[in-house]
Amino acid sequence: MSAVAEAPAIHLHAAGLRYGGAAIFDNLDLTLPGGRTTCLLGPSGVGKTSLLRLIAGLAHGASGEVRDSRGHGLQGRVAYLAQHDLLLPWASALDNVLLGYRLRGAARGAAVVDRGRALLGRVGLAGREADRPAKLSGGMRQRVALARTLMEDRPVVLMDEPFSALDAITRFQLQDLAAELLAGRTVLLVTHDPLEALRLGHRVQVLAGVPARLGAALEPDGAPPRDPGEPRLVAQQGELLKRLSAAASAGASS
């Protein structure tokens, strides 16, 4: 796919966010390597979502400069997958997948509709095209949202705890699916689950402290999605949990 070929590296420079007079983060730099998945971990309220929204162009009060390696902005190259599936309850699964085309007023030719159907098939929802979200389970709804994200075919995909509301098994299956389908894109995955980060990330970074700072990047071996039973992964998960726990208690005492 063309979007994958041009997946850019992203440089976030001098990001800042103040809330109620206190700096949540200040003069923060973050680099997302092109075509790879970066996972951002951190305790609640540390500003992970704000960073993601800043890159998505949805900043509310956060400032900072977002550029690719050639110094261009990301306008029109970003797809966004939130914690809530954000499906429109009145539209069918297929219409939800095709939402972007409809909102851009792009002619919805047979080729576009066929691609939407094919994507629903790839996330395992063939035959459910006409169902409204209310008829789908939480996992299925998030699959539709994933298909909608893929339909946009953007080189950059920003995901904000997309699997956190799902049960453990559904989450596991969707992580595999997302890793497979998003391979080759520049992905930022915000999560509070160290195991998820270690399964899916080429690079894992912890955001912690007041104002928040990025810890050293962790780059697990092997290609995602990794086997959660792998001893090295289990050890790294323990390490990350300790780091997060320390950060959380430091945040609570300050």
Partner: protein
């Protein structure tokens, strides 16, 4: 049971009415019993039906006009910031004026015919429809708007494909209120000056001390108002099937 229950309630109310009439031995020209009123309904069926048709036309046309105007205004003030600044205060002030006070003026301007009553009904429902729809348009789930922004959605497409459908449940509440109050507008208009209609018939019957006919007209009006409401309510439910059903259900 759902069919039976309203029937039981109706019969119960009629029974209480009958008991009150018999127990107090009130004169029939003050409060006629239900039997007498029913007889008046059948004796004057033609007269009632002809006048009911006039009132029904006023109510339905007023409802249509008010809904169209209200939806248009809500879309306008939701889409254009200057329109909101200029029109919203006018809207609120217009609601502060009792519509009843305008009835004589409307009859003066628009005459004794249908037009003044339709205008009354339109005026009385315009505000609830506008306010409810505007409120719905304003409260679009922010996540959907964020998503639309990352999709580079066009403003009008976002309005049509996201904000309007999201506001339909709110609009439906407004339309239910409008359906319930529209008959008030038509009847008040008829009281001030008219040549036909149930309100006109009631005034005439009152002046001639034909209290049973007055009650008969009231009965027909109530029947029509309830019928119209349940029709609109059912239509709205069918039009918005995704709306969560957490109200309107009477069965436990």
């Amino acid at each position: 049971m759902t069919v039976l229950r309203p029937l039981v309630i109706l019969l119960g109310l009629l029974g209480i009415w009958e008991i009150v009439v018999r127990a107090t031995a009130v004169a029939p020209y003050i409060l006629p019993g239900p039997g007498r009123v029913l007889r008046a309904v059948f004796d004057n069926a033609g007269l009632l039906l002809g006048n009911a048709a006039v009132t029904a036309t006023e109510i339905v046309l007023g409802l249509l006009a008010g809904t169209l105007l209200g939806c248009g205004s809500a879309l306008l003030i939701a889409s254009f910031r200057p329109a909101r600044r200029w029109l919203l205060p006018v809207l609120v002030v217009s609601q502060a004026i009792p519509v009843f006070a305008l009835a004589p003026i409307l009859v003066l301007w628009l005459g004794y015919g249908l037009a003044s009553k339709i205008a009354m009904a339109t005026l009385i429902i315009y505000f609830p429809v506008t306010a409810a729809f505007f409120d719905g348009l304003r409260r679009t789930e922010p996540g959907w708007l964020d998503l639309a922004r990352t999709m580079d959605g066009r403003r009008w497409a976002v309005l049509w494909h996201i904000r309007v459908p999201a506001a339909l449940p709110a609009l439906a509440s407004g339309l239910r209120v409008a359906t319930a109050v529209a008959p008030i507008g038509a009847i008040v208009g008829e009281w001030v000056g008219a040549g036909a209609g149930l309100g006109f018939l009631m005034l005439q019957a009152n002046a001639r001390m034909k209290v049973d006919v007055m009650f008969a007209a009231l009965f027909v009006l109530a029947l029509f108002a309830v019928g119209l409401y349940s029709l609109v309510d059912r239509g709205l439910r069918r039009a918005i099937p995704w709306q969560v059903e957490d109200h309107g259900e009477t069965s436990p």
